[in-house]
Symmetry: none
Subunit: 259 residues, 2 copies
C-alpha cells in the first residue's frame, strides 16, 4: 500500500461509505417495489435487490478493510501493514455480475426455454470473465496482467455480442413502451463495464502511486453504483411499464402509479 494524503484517503473512505448507503437503499427500494409490478416480474426485482444487497455487504467489508489499512502519521496517511483486501471486489463480481445479466433476461419476459438458455449462457460467461481476470489482478508481473486481462476480454466480448446481436430480435418484440428502456439497459451494462478493463490495464502499463489508487478505487465504486443500482432502477422501470396491462385488467383494483 502506498502512502497518501489525508484528502485522498478521505475521498476513498467517503466513496466507500456512499456506495454502502446507496446500495443498501437501492436493495430496499427493489424489494419493496415487488408489490408494484405484475407477479411475473417479481423474480427479476428479487434478483435486482440481491445484486445490490451482495454489493452493499462487500462495500461494508471494503470500508472496514480500507480503514484498517491506514493510520495518520505526521499529517499523511501511512500504511499500517494490514493489506487492503482487493479480493472482496472479485468475490462480489463473481456473484453479482452473472445475476445482473440474469435480471435483464428475466425482465424481458422471454419463453421459459429462452430464459433458461440465455440466462445460463450469459451467467457462465460472466463468471468466466471475472475468474479469468483475478489471477492478473494479483500477479506481480505486467505480462501476467496482460495475459489474464486479454483472456478475460474474450468472454466479455462474447457477452457484448450476445446482448447486441443475440438479444436484438427479442428486444424488437418488447412492448413499444418498454423497448427504449431495455435498449438503454444493455447500453448501461456495456458502458459501465468498460471502465473495469480501463482500470485493469492501467495497472498493466505501470500506472501506480497514490493518485492511481484514488482513481482506481473511486472509479470502481462509481462503476459499481451505476452497473448495479442505476441499472436496477432501469429494470424496475421496465417491469413497472410492462405490468400496466396486468393492473389494468385487474380493473384498477391494484392500479399502480405511472412510474
Amino acid at each position: 500500500m502506498v502512502d497518501m494524503t489525508i484528502g485522498q484517503f478521505n475521498l476513498i473512505y467517503n466513496a466507500f461509505s456512499f456506495a454502502f448507503a446507496a446500495l443498501a437503499a437501492a436493495t430496499l427500494f427493489f424489494w419493496l417495489g415487488r408489490s408494484q409490478v405484475a407477479p411475473q416480474y417479481r423474480t427479476a426485482l428479487t434478483i435486482t435487490g440481491l445484486v445490490t444487497f451482495i454489493a452493499a455487504y462487500h462495500y461494508l467489508r471494503i470500508f472496514e478493510s480500507w480503514t484498517a489499512a491506514y493510520d495518520v502519521a505526521d499529517g499523511v496517511m501511512v500504511a499500517t501493514g494490514a493489506t487492503f483486501n482487493q479480493a472482496y471486489r472479485y468475490v462480489d463480481w463473481l456473484l453479482t455480475v452473472p445475476l445482473l445479466l440474469i435480471e435483464l433476461i428475466l425482465v424481458m419476459g422471454l419463453s421459459r426455454q429462452e430464459t433458461l438458455s440465455r440466462g445460463l449462457r450469459l451467467g457462465l460467461l460472466a463468471a468466466l470473465m471475472i475468474a479469468l481476470g483475478y489471477p492478473g489482478e494479483i500477479a506481480d508481473s505486467a505480462s501476467a496482467r496482460w495475459f489474464w486481462g486479454i483472456a478475460s476480454m474474450i468472454p466479455f466480448l462474447w457477452i457484448v455480442y450476445e446482448l447486441f446481436v443475440g438479444l436484438s430480435k427479442s428486444i424488437d418484440n418488447q412492448p413499444e413502451d418498454a423497448r427504449g428502456l431495455v435498449n438503454l439497459a444493455r447500453w448501461v451494462v456495456v458502458l459501465s463495464w468498460s471502465f473495469y478493463p480501463l482500470v485493469y490495464f492501467a495497472g498493466a502499463i505501470g500506472l501506480d502511486g497514490a493518485t492511481a489508487t484514488t482513481i482506481v478505487e473511486v472509479g470502481y465504486t462509481v462503476s459499481d453504483i451505476v452497473a448495479k443500482a442505476v441499472f436496477g432502477v432501469l429494470i424496475y422501470m421496465i417491469a413497472v411499464r410492462k405490468s400496466q396491462d396486468y393492473f389494468d385488467k385487474q380493473g384498477g383494483k391494484d392500479a399502480v402509479p405511472a412510474e
Copy 2:
C-alpha cells in the same frame, strides 16, 4: 477540532443519538404505512422511508465519528486528532435531497411524463446544489466559502422557483382535501432548507469556536429531522387523504382511518 466543554460535547452527542432514533423510527413508520395507502402512492412512501433510512445510517456514522474525535482531559473535551468527518453530511444530502423532492412529486400523482421530467429536473438541481456546496465547506479561505456558497444558491433558488411557480398549477389540481398539505409540504422544504445556508455562511463570516460548532451541529441535526422525518409525515398524510376514494370504492373492505 476545537476543545469544548463536557456540556457542549454531550449536547451534540445526544442530538446525534436522538436523530438516529427519530430517523430509524420514521423509516419503519413509512414502510409499515405502505399498506394504509392506495397502491399508486406506495412508491412515494417507499422513497420517503429510503430518505430517512439513508439519513439514519449516516447519523450512526456521524455519532461514531464524533465519539472518536474527542477525549476527556482535565474536565474538558480535547480533540483526539481523529477528524470528525463532515463529509458524511454531504454524502447523505447528495442521496437524500434529490429523493426528498422526488417523493413530493410522486405523492402529487401527476402524469407519467410530468413525473419523469419534473422529478429528473428537481433531482439533478438538488444534486448540483449539494455538489457545489462541498468545495466551500472544506475550503480553508472565507472567499472560497463565499464563492461556492453563492454558486450553490443558484440551483437552490431554481428549485424554489420550480416548487412555487412550476408546480403551482399542479397543486391547484390536487383534491381539495390534500391541497393545503401539499402547499405546507413545499413550505417545509424551503423553510427547513433555509437553515443550511445560514449555518454555511456563518463559517464564511468567521464565526468559529466551540459555541459555533455546537450551533452548527445541533442546527444541522434539527433541520435534517424536520426536512426528512417531519416532511415525510406530511407526505404520508397527503397519501392517506388521497387514498380515501380508493378504499371507499373497495366497499370499505380495507378501509383505513382518516389519518
